[in-house]
Every structure is written in C-alpha cells, then in structure tokens.
Symmetry: none
Subunit: 266 residues, 3 copies
Amino acid sequence: MDAFQGIIKFFVNQKTIIGYSFMALLTVGSERLFSLVAFKCPCSAENTVYGLVFLLAPAWVLLILGFFVNNRSWKLFTGCCVNPRKMFPRGHNCHFFYVLGQIILSSLVAPMMWLSVALLNGTFYECAMSGTKSERLLELICKGKPKECWEELNKVSCGKTSMTTTDNEELKLSLQAQSQILGWFLICSASFFSLLTTCYARCRSKVSYLQLNFWKTYAQKEKEQLEDTILDYANKLSERNLKCFFENKRPDAFPMPTFAAWEAAS
Amino acid sequence: MDAFQGIIKFFVNQKTIIGYSFMALLTVGSERLFSLVAFKCPCSAENTVYGLVFLLAPAWVLLILGFFVNNRSWKLFTGCCVNPRKMFPRGHNCHFFYVLGQIILSSLVAPMMWLSVALLNGTFYECAMSGTKSERLLELICKGKPKECWEELNKVSCGKTSMTTTDNEELKLSLQAQSQILGWFLICSASFFSLLTTCYARCRSKVSYLQLNFWKTYAQKEKEQLEDTILDYANKLSERNLKCFFENKRPDAFPMPTFAAWEAAS
Amino acid sequence: MDAFQGIIKFFVNQKTIIGYSFMALLTVGSERLFSLVAFKCPCSAENTVYGLVFLLAPAWVLLILGFFVNNRSWKLFTGCCVNPRKMFPRGHNCHFFYVLGQIILSSLVAPMMWLSVALLNGTFYECAMSGTKSERLLELICKGKPKECWEELNKVSCGKTSMTTTDNEELKLSLQAQSQILGWFLICSASFFSLLTTCYARCRSKVSYLQLNFWKTYAQKEKEQLEDTILDYANKLSERNLKCFFENKRPDAFPMPTFAAWEAAS
C-alpha cells in the first residue's frame, strides 16, 4: 500500500512532464492523421499556399487555444478597462508587458511542437517548397538536377514529372531532408531559448531556491483551499437566497469581502 | 479512492472542453456520413445550388438548434410582449442587443464547426464550384488548363469529361485544395475573433478574476439548489391540490412568491 | 455513485432531445425499409401518382397518429358535444382555435420528418417527377438533354430508355439532386418556422422564465401523483363495491368529487 502511494506521489510530482508528453503524443497523432486523411498536395501553382496553410494554420489555432486555456491571461485582462491602473501600476510600467510575455511564451509551446512534428515529417514543407516561383529558391533546390526541374517542380510530390523516377525520388528526398534539418534546428533553438529565459527569470528572483519551492507548494495549497472555501460560501449564500425568495422574506445580511479586497487578492 | 475522485473532479472541471470535443467528433462523423450516403454531385447545371445547399443548409439548421438549446434566449424572450420594459430597460437600451449578440455568438459555434469540417473535406465545395458560370471564377480555376475546362467543368467531379484523366484529377485536386485553404482560413479567423471578443468581454467586466470565479460557482450552485427546491415545492403543492380535489374541500393558503418577485429573479 | 446519478439526471433532463432523436432514427429506418422492400417504380403513366402516394400517404398517417398520441387533443374534444360552452368559452372565442393550432403544430413534427427523410433519399420524388406530363416541368428537366427525354422520361428510373446509359444516369442524378435540394429547403424553413412560433409563444407568455420552469415541474409532478391517486381511489371503490355485492349489502357512501369539479379540473 505504501509503495502504491509512493507511485501515485511520484506521478503527481511529475505532472508537468506527463502533461507535456501527453501533448506531444497528441500532436504527433493528429499530424499523422492530417497528413494521411486531409492533406493532398494539389501539384499545381497553389502548392506554396496550400503547404504553408497546413503548416501554419494549426500552429495559429494552437496559439489561440493556449491563450484561452491559460488562467494568467484571464487574470490579467479581467476588468482592465474599468481599472486601467491595474495593468500599468505606478512605477511598474513594464509589469503588463512582463506578464504578457510570460503568457505568450507559455502559449508558444504547443505551436512549436506542431511545427517541429510537421517539419520532421516533411510532407507539408515538401508541398510548400515545390510550388515556389522564387529564382533563388529554385536555384538552391534544382542545383545539379536535370533542366525539367525548373519547370515541373510543382509536380514532384505527385511523381508526375517528365523526369526519370530516380531524379524525381532524389528531389523528394532532398526536400524532405531540408524539412527535417529545419525541424531539428527549430527544436534545438527553441529548447536553448527556453533554457535561457528560465535561467534569466530564476536569476532575477529575489528569493532563494528553497524559499521558491516553499512558495510553490504554498500557492498550490492555497489554490486548493480557496476552491473549497468558494464552494462552501457559494453553497451557503445560494441556500439563504432561495429560502428568502420562496418564503417572501427580506434576506439577512451576509458577510462578504469588499470589492477592493477581491481586487487585491487577485 | 482519492486519486479517483481527483480524476472525476478534473473531468467535471473540463466539462466545456469535453463538450466541445464531443460536438466536434459528432460534426466530423455526420459530415462523413452525409458525404458518403446522401451526397451525389449531379454533374449538371445544378451543381452550384446542390453543393451550396449541402454546405449551408446544415449550418442553418445547427444555428436554429443552437438558439433552441440556449437557455438564455428563452430567458430573454419569455414574456417580452407583455412586459416590453424588460427588454429595453431605462437607460440600458443596448442591453437587449448585447444579450442577443451573446446568444448569436454562442449559437454560431456549431455552424462554424460544420462549415470548417465540410470545407476541409472539400467534396461539397468541389461540386459547388464546378458548376460555376461566372467568367472570373472560370478564369481562376481553368488557368493553364486545356480548353475543355471552360465547357465541361461541371462534369469534373464525376470524371466524365473529354479531358485526359490526369488533367481531370489535377482539376479536382486543385478545387479541393482551394476548399481546404478556405476551411483553414475560416478556422483561423473564427478562433482569432472568439479570442478578441472574449478578451473584450473580460476587459469590460466590473469584477476581478477571483470574484468572477466565485460568482460562477455561486450561479451553478444556485441553479442546482433551485431545481431541488422547485421540485420540492411542486411536490407539496400538487399533493395539497389533489387531496383537496378528491375530498371536495377548499384548498388551504400556500405561501408563494409574487409575480414581481419571479420577474425580478429571472 | 454521485457521478452515475449525475449521468442519469442529465439523460432525464434531455428527455425531449432523446425522444426526437429516437423518432428521427425510426423515420430514417422505416424510410429505408420502405424504399428497399415495398417501393418499385412502375415506369409507366402511373409514376406520378405512385411516387406521390409513397411520399404523402405515410405523412398523412403520421399526422393522424400524432393526433391520437396527443393528450391535449382528447382533453379538448372529450365531452364537447354535451357541453359546447367548453370549446367556446365566453370572451375567449379564439381559445378553441388556439389549442387546435397547438395540437396541429405538434402533430406536424413526425410528417415533416418523414417528408424530409424521403426527399433527402430522393427515390420517391424521382419516380413521381419522371411521370410528369406538364410541359413546363418537362422543359425544366430535359433542358440540354437528348430528344428521347421528352418521350421516355417515365422509363428513366428503371433505366429502360433508348438513351445512352450516361444520359440516363445523368437524368437520374439531376432528379435526385432536385429532390435533395427540396428536402433541405423543407428542413430549413420548418426549423425557422418552429423557432419563430416558439419565440412568439414565449413572448406572449404572462409569466417569467423561472416561473414557467416551476409550473412545468409542477404539472409533471401533479400528473404523476394524479395517476397514483386515481389508482388508489379506484382500488378502494371497486373493493367496496365488490364486497357489498357479494354480501348483499347497500354500499356505504363514498366521497367523490362532483361532475362540475371534474370538468373544471380538466
């Protein structure tokens, strides 16, 4: 029984890691699904737009979803029109941009995952690049390839060019290789950047490591107890109001925190 | 047992997300069913009407269904002819349009989902566009295609044109690509728009984030308890009335809230 | 256990939706069965009558069935010959037509479903239209088709025309497309109309939203308890009567509501 509790505790501690792994798996799965079921490269002049849309649109949607799911963004924006002082407190003009930056950074995780997975797979990039009209990109892709490459590049993904099968296959492999190189580059730079920002944030913190750990545990405990208390109070208040309503009485006074107190607690 | 309760609590908290995912799955499923079972492009001059009807009619039905399911719309309209002051209270002339806007926005979720799924699939759009008579659209679609494209475009979805199979396949792919690009565009702009409106609504709120959380919990609790109380009162009242009826007695007085109280509580 | 009860409660609340979904499934199933087993287009001059009968007769039967199933229609008509004042109470001459309208509207749901499903399937409409003799309809259907279309349209559903198979197939597809467009049009307008009437009825209601909810709960509870009480009283009365009969006694007095009270309660 003790071992079982230990396992559960371990998993609860690793909540963040498990959450991210689950998200990564979901991303890989949905990318495979998309590229198999929905993605059909048109092999015409629309290649570039089509490929880029499949590469970027889901990333955009995931970014917006990240904003929606993030509690901090709502904490920041709720009531900001009525009380603009809240967003730009005196002497801390940067506070708003600091929090906004934090929100954007944490919302970027999912889109980055999508982009990495999509680039590592290579289907979308291959289609997008094969429709290019830019001279310099064509120069780069078709270097040392037969002359047809310049004119029929957009038919490469469908394999319907007048080139030999070997040449066609070679072009496809080369495009996919570029996509995967780009993908790894994105992953490497994103992870390095996240390390740097975390280091910087920790460096600027005014408390020591142990103290920070304590505050994290405290914050979590407080959140849990706050939820319970809110539920409790809501229960009592609604019971009182309904009773008064059906019995045609004036409600008794109910002790509630003032608006300023709520505001400060947020 | 504790872990199990935690899981249930988690799912209850994510109710909205689970509901929307379920709705999305249902939409995808019914779209597949429709396009496989019911949809047969006529490949004649009726193509445009037929495709547009399959694209837009279910969205329209879903919009109306959204109105029906939404409790707020009934709260708004109930008794509004008898008491027009309710819809346009003094000094808050915009209140009616504000609530109506909220209802319309939340009813738009399902139709948007349908349109997105249908456009990403591409069958309906392909049929609708292949029946076009407009010179400019034809120019756009048939650019760089053989001359038959201008005359036999409406037979493309059935593959019964006098063009080569490759050309036909290319035209179909290109139409489907346009449909998917449009679908992604719709999804991206809809998600961005929903983020903007939610942000704006939160910005205008007069209470802080924590207070809002409290009121949400309160509203839910009150709703649950209201249902129980209503059931209780209805039970008692009906028991009394039936007893009086069968025993030929005058009913006793029964304490009930006045009409004005009901009205105010709504 | 709590979660399980929540699920049951959810399903009980969604009773109406589940009922309608079940009805829709039943309609689709029986329509499929009819068009596969019973429907054989005669491909002669009787086409129009045959198709229209299959399209409209089940709708008529469902309308009548709707009247039978509806409790309110029996409440309205029971005893109306003996007491015509009941149907046309003084000062409320419209009351009869108002209730009748309600009954007709709620009975129209099932026929509308049948018509929609049958039109979306298209078999019945195809047969009905292919037997047309009207010049204008023929003009509409056979536009741009070979000359045989005018003479052999009624053989199209069986595929026994002297036209090529392609032309025949095209004609069939075009007729089915018309049927489906008509079906979607019917669904869209019916849903819009039902939204409008519900809105209007709610607007005219004299009570607020919450009060309406209370009365609905009350009516249901009263109905349940009335059934129990009736059973109880009937039990007692029959026991007394039988006992008296076998023991050759005069029955004791039994307290019963008067006729006027019954009438008023209905």
